[in-house]
Every structure is written in C-alpha cells, then in structure tokens.
C-alpha cells in the first residue's frame, strides 16, 4: 500500500486549545519561529516540521490547531457508527470528506488529516489543571482513528493533577509521559523520542536512527560553538589596531580615537560571536537583553563584567599570568595556604597585589615609525591577564544559555545569572593550558597547532560542563 522506502514516522501533536501543543513542537523541532501565544487558537492550520538529513525526511512532526467542536463531531460519528470497530477510521475519513469545506469543522479536519495520513498521535494536556470529563470526547475521537497514540502531560501552571490525568489518559493511551517544553533540555528531548519509538514497532528502528542523528547534530552544534569561541577569542586577543598619524607626535585626540577604535573592534567581534552562536542554536528570533558591556567608555572592563566573568585576582596570580610583574615564589607561597584567605585578610592582600600589578592597565598604545607621514599609533594586543577569561567567560555563558534554552520560550533572553563564575567551570589545570596560548598571543606570537588544539579541548570541556 505505502511505499516502504518513502514512509517515515509522522506524529501529530493534538489536544485542547492553548495547552502547549505548539510549544512542544517548537521545542522538539528546535525552531523558534513557531507561533506560540497565550491566545487560544494561535495555531490555525497544521504545519509539518520534518527532521531532514541531507534532504531526506527521518520523521515529521505536525503542529495542529486545537479541538473546537469535538462534541458535534463525535455525535456525527456515533450516528454513522459502523458495525465493527475496524471500520471506524473509515467513518472519520467519511466525515473529513463530507465536511472538508465546512468552516465549522476546519480545525478538526486540519488536525485529523495528518492522523488519517498515518501520523501517530501525541495528545497534549495541561496537567497542572484538574481533569474534566469533556476531554473524553476528544480522546474518543482520537481512539476512532485507530492510530498509535501517546499522551504528554505538560505542566503550565504550578498545581499538579498528574495522578488524576494519568488514570484517565491511561484508558485511552498506551503511553503517558511528562514533558515540559519550556524547561526541556536536549536530554529530555531524546528521552521523549525514546518513548515515542515504542508507539509502533515499524517506527522503532527509524526513531532510533533519528535519535542518533539528533545526537550527532547536537554534537556538531557543540563543536561549531567551541570552534567559534576559540577563533573569536584568539582573534580578539591578537588584535592590533594601527592608526596613521599625520604629524610628528600624536595628539590626545588621536590617542583617544585609536583607543576607541580598538575597543570598538573588540566589541564587534563579540557581537559577531553572539550572532553566530544564536544561528547555530537556531535562536534567531530572540530579543536580547544586554549583558554588562565588555568594555566601558573609559576603556576599562566594565567592573561588572570582570567580576562576573573574569578570574578573581587570586586565581589570576596562581595562574602565573602576572608572574612577570610579581616575583613569583613569595606570592605563590602566600597563596598556597587556603585558610590564609578567610575573612578580610583576603581582600587586603589581594587588593595590595592588584595595585602592584596594575590590573586596570589593559593594553598598550605605542607610537611607531620614524618618517613623518608613516608614523602610526599601535594599539594592542590586549595585555591584561584577565581579559581572555572575561572574553571566554562571557562567550561560554552566552553560548550555554542559548544551548540550554528551549525553542518554545518566547520571553526575551535574560543574561543575568549572578551564579555564573568562570572559576567554577575552568579548573587549575585547564587554566594552565589556556594560559600557554594567552601568553603567546600577548607577545604577538603565533601559538603552535598543538597548543591551539589543547585550547579548543579546554573550551569544549568547559562548555560541556555547562550544557
């Protein structure tokens, strides 16, 4: 009947209006363009979301409108009830055939059509609200279709009536699972697919295959994210801006302009990184709320950004980043005893050291060139030992927030997690590896391939901790 090669599992996500059907589809399809709204009837026509690999469809999810006149449809079906249960699906076909142009049943026909074309049923309810007998009408209609089906308990509100729901749903559906489209991470997505795979034997293999593909896809995204973070960090750290000087010495204004341009470019790199990452994780429509700016107008790190994303000064000193500035041994000794740091002692010692090192001195501006007309102001590369960590910290934070963000969320992106500290993700050993590259870049030397590979691996490891 059906061409076996071209048949792939299809699923129609159906249910009452406004119960999160579109949210579930959006989360499962990784597509933030799906219309989700608190107005029931947001979805008006069915819409297929195929999982495609090189153009070949592995499975397809359908978002559908909610049931609107279920009672009258069931009444019609009962009236035309066939003598045996195996003919019930035909009655539904007959209904669709007879009422295709009837505006009243447009929603139901939209949602029944994919099912009658072979789609499995994913029935969505909001289990944070009490169960009601009126749902039985919809479930009964779905039962008439004879298609494999499962129910998803979504928890929109904060009450929990899942027990009640499960008892009722259990009579109509083979599987009942909880899935929260707003909180779902990749892991939950895969778990849900694994349940779906059990709906029908024919589909098991294909869904298993799809799971493998999605995992690969996920890893691809991770790899690309890490690659972009690595490239951008290295580009920013080695960036040098040259500003032509007209006369013998540079004016104050020229100094200011050169320095402004330099900083502006670093900010641009970061913006580009964020755009690329949103693209990778398919969050193209998010409204972004700014994280503290990378560098403020005066040319310092914005204090907030540094304190959240950078290493603490103690960590920095332990990293050895500033070993040149401080005679190493004494400091290392001083910092090796943990208890030494308790209380206010920490503040005063670290404060003193930081004054010595001059953490605020971010980058050099040099005037080079002998001939007038060929003189240049050279800004960069970034010399601050903490800057790379601020950059990495911000990039990792942004990337992990997006990677963990469900596509069903329509609120603007909030980036204000005060709990995010780079020290939690990057340990001593990792820091040492990073520092090897950072110190090369500070000296304007090109790090060796192996070092860069090691660098990439550290970023990968820290990113994986976050997602």
């Amino acid at each position: 009947m059906i061409d076996r090669k071209n048949s792939y599992p299809k699923f129609a996500v159906v249910g009452h209006p406004n119960k999160g059907k579109s949210s579930i589809v959006s989360a499962l399809a990784h597509d933030d363009s799906v219309q989700i709204g608190n107005t029931p009837g947001t979805t008006q026509v069915k819409r297929g979301f195929p999982l495609k690999v090189d153009g070949k469809i592995i499975y397809e999810l359908f978002d559908t409108p909610g049931f609107q006149r279920a009672r009258r449809i069931l009444a019609w079906l009962e009236e035309h009830k066939p003598t045996s249960a195996n003919k019930r699906a035909d009655t539904i076909r007959e209904f669709i055939y007879n009422f295709r142009d009837d505006e009243r049943f447009r929603d139901e026909i939209e949602l029944l059509e994919p099912i009658m074309n072979g789609a499995g049923i994913i029935y969505v309810v909001d289990a944070s609200k009490p169960y009601g007998a009126e749902y039985e009408i919809e479930m009964e209609i779905l039962r008439w279709t004879g298609q494999p089906s499962m129910a998803i308990l979504n928890l929109i509100g904060d009450e929990d009536y899942r027990e009640d729901w499960s008892r009722a749903l259990g009579q109509y559906f083979r599987l009942v699972r909880t899935f929260n489209p707003l909180k779902a991470k990749f892991k939950n997505h895969i778990e849900l697919l694994e349940s779906i795979a059990q709906l029908k034997e024919d589909w098991t293999e294909q869904i298993k295959n799809a799971i493998e593909i999605l995992k690969k896809f996920h890893n691809q995204k991770i790899d690309r994210t890490v690659e972009i973070i690595k490239d951008t960090t290295i580009k920013s750290l080695s960036y040098v801006y040259r500003h032509k000087i007209k006369s013998k010495t540079a004016t104050k204004e020229e100094y200011r302009l050169a320095s402004k341009h330099y900083r502006g470019e670093l900010v641009k790199y970061e913006r580009k990184l964020e755009r690329d990452i949103s693209e990778i994780w398919k969050h193209k429509n998010i409204e972004r709320v700014d994280i503290p700016p990378l560098i403020d107008d005066v040319g310092l790190f914005s204090k907030e950004s540094e304190s959240i994303f950078g290493l603490s000064q103690k960590e920095l000193i332990l990293t050895g980043a500033s070993a040149g500035a401080i005679s190493g041994a004494g400091i290392d000794l001083a910092f090796s005893g943990g208890t030494f740091f308790l209380g206010t002692v920490i503040g005063s010692i670290v404060g003193g050291v930081s004054a010595m090192v001059g953490f605020d001195n971010l980058y050099n501006i040099k005037l080079l060139g002998k001939k007038i007309g060929k003189r240049e102001l050279i800004v960069g590369p970034m010399k601050s030992a903490n800057f790379p960590y601020v950059l990495l910290g911000r990039a990792l934070y942004y990337a992990s927030t997006l990677a963990n963000r469900s596509h069903a969320i329509r609120d603007s992106l909030k980036l204000d997690d005060r709990e995010f500290f780079i020290e939690k993700i990057i340990d001593n050993n990792m820091r040492k590896k990073l520092e090897k590259v950072h110190s090369k870049l500070r000296e304007q030397k090109e790090p060796k391939e192996e070092l860069l590979e090691e660098y990439r691996e550290v970023i990968l490891e820290s990113f994986k901790k976050l997602i």
């Binding site: 209006p17 107005t39 009490p130 009126e134 690969k216």
Partner: protein, 473 residues
C-alpha cells in the same frame, strides 16, 4: 569567462582565496554540492576545485589571478628576453677569438657547467630549507635583485590595486621555478651563440689555469664531464692529444708552436663544449625546472587546503545537513481590538438561570455555595458529556438573567461559543454573565491571564447581552 580547473594552479589557488574572502556557502548548499559529486568524496582538492568552478560567478569584479598572472607573464617575458640576450652576449664574449689568445675552455666550462650546477644546488637547498635560510639564499640569486629593480618600474603600479594572497613558501617556490626557466633560456642563448660563433668564425680553444694541472689530469676531468655522452657521441670528447696540444700559458710570451700549427684541430673542442652546455646547462636545468614546477604544484595542493575558510567548507562537505524547520512560514494573527468593556466587577444579585459549562450539577451547587449565590429556578450543567441537542434544549428553557460558570483555565472553544450565541438569540434571556472560576485547589481564584483570554474571545462575540464577571479582584 574562465576555463575549468581540474588541477590546482596558481590561478585556481588565487581564485579560490578570492572567492573565499567573499563567499563560503551555507552548510546546506555545500553539503548538497558534495552529495552531487559523491565520486569525489575521497578527493577533497578536486571537489574544492569543482566548487570553485560552480561559484565563479560570485566573485565581484576582476579576478585577482588575472591581474597577477598578467603581471607574471609580462614580467616573465621581459626577463626571459633579457636572459636570452644575456646568455647570447655572454657566449659571444666568452668565445670571441682575436686570433692571438685562444678561448679558454675553462672559462666556458665555468659558465656552462659549474655555475648551473651550483645554482641548481642552491635552489634545491632553498626549496627544502626554512624560510629564514631561504631569505638568505635568495640574496645570492641575481634574479632576486633584478626583480627588486623591476618592482620600481611601471609594473609596480599594476600590482598595487590588489593583494595577492600567496604565502612566503609559495612565492619562494614560484620564484625558484621562474629562476630555472630564465636560467634555461640563458643557457639556450649561450648554446646558440656557441653554434653561431662556430659557424661564423674560426675559434681556437685552449686551456690554461694558474693551478698545477697536468694535461693527463685535465683529460681525466674531461672524461668525467663527458660521461653522459661518451658512448653516443665519442667525437665530442677531446682526445688526450688535443688536450695536451691546447694547453697554453697566458703568461708565456708566445704560443706553443704546435698550437699554431694545429689551430684547426683545436677547434674540435666545440663539440665537447656544445655537449656540456646541452647536458649540464640545458637538459639538467630543464629537468630541474620540471621538478620545481611539479613541486610547486604539490605545494599549491597542500596550501589550498589550508586557505582560510577551506576547513569550514570541507567540513560541511562531509557533515550531513540536518534540519528540523518547517518549510512554510506561519501567518501572523491579527489582534481584534476591543469594542466595549465586557468585564464587570459587580455581578447581578439574583439569577433566573444558572448554567455550568463543563461542570456537573454538584459542582455548580458547590460553586454557588462558595460564592454566596442563591439558588436559581433553573440550574443546569451544559457541555461536558451532554449531547449537543441536550444543550440546545437547556438553552431554550433558559430565561432572564443567566449566570454561566466556566473553567477559567480552559479557553473558550467554538463549541462553547455556539451555545453562547444561542443563548444570546434566545429572547427570553435578558443578560448573560459569564463567571470564570479558578480551580478548587485555589478556592476558585482565577488568574488575570485567563480572564484576558476570556475577555478577548467574548469581545469578538460583540453582544450587548454578554458580560464577564471578575468578582475576585
């Protein structure tokens, strides 16, 4: 506009690098391309060149490679000509015989054999040595200096407009390859001048050196030199006699008598010199030139894979393109603007009819109790498991002011709206107050969000009879 690239060349290398600076393709396009050329899966370079061919049209403006190759061609032709003339003149100079002093074959051997071998070894060292060493070696090549000078000539301007993205290593190889070509041309000029001089004039060759070298020893050296042709053209090897005969001493007052007598025999040297030039300066050079050409090609093949952006494309060629997006876009919903304020804070004191949409009768009584609403004449459950016809019956029997409980969290369906509209049409019904209740767990307290949903829907019904009660807040 361009010819197809089947192997890596300077042209394809430069074109690709130019294209990559403007366009790198999307994953979807690149993967689709790779799938179309499945046969080339294992040959990334070939695939890349095919990709270049397909995307030529995307390069904005003139091809950098064209400018560069034009420049290379004009400068090569000019230098080629110069080297040819130089070779010819050097030949004429070396071979000019004034009838007194014979032409010293050692000079000639120096130019036609020793220098070529030396310069080829230098080139070979330069090819395989690090950048820094190559820089030093380059200083030894005359071409390096000629090029320096030429760069100040008008060509310079031509090159200014664009930047050619050739690594040091590649430009070095290109330079060395050109050097071999020019040296080859030089040697051809040299050989030509030798042949012309032999035909046109009568040259007497001799040999002389400040070192103490016996004719026997020199003859041995000559035998070694002619090792490549001693079997084929034995006549191109001077005999020991000839070697002895042509030995002369520059500082001696007069020439050896025998030399003067055998001046015609001395001319027999030319075959040897011609063969030396042909083998050492021309054949060897030609082979070495071919080698540098091939080596350059190999290096280009390696370098093309490390061009910026190539790794991305190659990765995309290999990785399946996965997408989960819906092909068609969704239409945006229009929002219906409010016509009248339908939400009221104060409900009616008494109702003739109380209905509960999707409530059971017991639940209605419970709600009445909780909300302090006196019982009405008619209390009915609607919706739920009622049939549509049963609801029609109820609607028909309703009258006066109607209170209609609904579950606030369940959005109004069209089923509900159908019943509501029939209530409105019923002339006995004077007013319908919809009362959205929260869950019992919340003591019927509803949420503003849900009231808003109900409000929007009821506003769209647009009836003067219908109101929503929002009593709690």
């Amino acid at each position: 506009m361009h010819s197809k690239n089947s192997t890596v060349s300077i042209k394809s290398y430069l074109d690709l690098s130019q294209l990559l600076s403007e366009y790198r393709g999307s994953h979807e396009d690149n993967r689709a391309f790779a799938l179309k050329h499945k046969k080339l899966e294992k040959a990334p370079t070939k695939l890349l060149l095919k990709w270049l061919d397909k995307n030529y049209f995307r390069i904005d403006g003139e091809l950098n490679s064209k400018k560069y190759l034009d420049y290379l061609l004009s400068i090569s032709s000019l230098l080629g000509l110069i080297f040819f003339i130089l070779g010819f003149i050097v030949g004429l100079g070396l071979l000019s015989y004034d009838g007194k002093l014979p032409v010293n074959v050692i000079y000639y051997l120096f130019i036609a054999m020793f220098i070529p071998l030396f310069s080829m070894s230098l080139s070979a060292i330069s090819i395989f040595s690090s950048d820094r060493v190559s820089h030093l070696i380059a200083l030894l090549f005359p071409l390096h200096w000629i090029e320096k000078v030429l760069n100040y000539l008008p060509f310079r301007k031509k090159l200014k407009g664009f930047k050619v993205n050739l690594s040091f290593k590649l430009s070095k190889l290109l330079f060395i390859e050109r050097l071999q070509l020019f040296s080859l041309i030089f040697s051809i000029g040299l050989l030509l001048s030798l042949l012309i001089m032999v035909i046109a004039t009568d040259i007497a060759f001799g040999w002389s050196t400040t070192l103490q070298v016996s004719p026997e020893a020199f003859h041995r050296v000559i035998k070694y030199i002619s090792i490549f042709w001693d079997k084929i053209i034995p006549s191109a090897i001077p005999s020991l006699d000839l070697v002895e005969m042509s030995h002369y001493f520059r500082l001696g007052e007069k020439l050896d008598i025998s030399m003067v007598h055998n001046a015609d025999k001395l001319g027999a040297w030319w075959k040897f010199l011609a063969m030396t030039t042909l083998i050492y300066a021309i054949t060897f050079r030609f082979l070495f030139w071919i080698f540098t050409k091939e080596y350059l090609k190999k290096q280009l093949e390696e370098s093309i894979l490390s061009l910026k952006g190539v790794d991305k494309i190659l990765r995309e060629f290999k990785t399946p393109y996965i997408s989960t997006q819906a092909p068609q876009k969704e239409k945006h919903l229009e929002i219906v603007e409010a016509k009248k304020e339908v939400v009221i804070k104060k409900r009616e004191a008494k109702y003739q009819t109380i209905l509960g949409w999707n409530f059971s009768k017991d639940e209605i009584l419970l709600a009445n109790d909780a909300k302090g609403i006196d019982g009405a004449e008619n209390i009915w459950a609607v919706g739920g498991s009622n049939s549509f016809n049963k609801d029609l019956e109820i609607v028909k029997n309703s009258s006066g002011v109607v209170l209609l409980y609904v579950k606030s969290w369940e959005p109004p369906t069209m089923d509900f709206i159908d019943i509501l509209e029939m209530l409105i049409e019923n002339s006995k019904v004077t007013r319908v107050e919809i009362y959205p209740l929260g869950t019992i767990g919340r003591y019927y307290k509803n949420e503003q969000e849900h009231i808003d949903i109900w409000r929007r829907k009821i506003e769209s019904v647009d009836s003067q009879k219908v109101w929503i009660v929002n009593h709690d807040r």
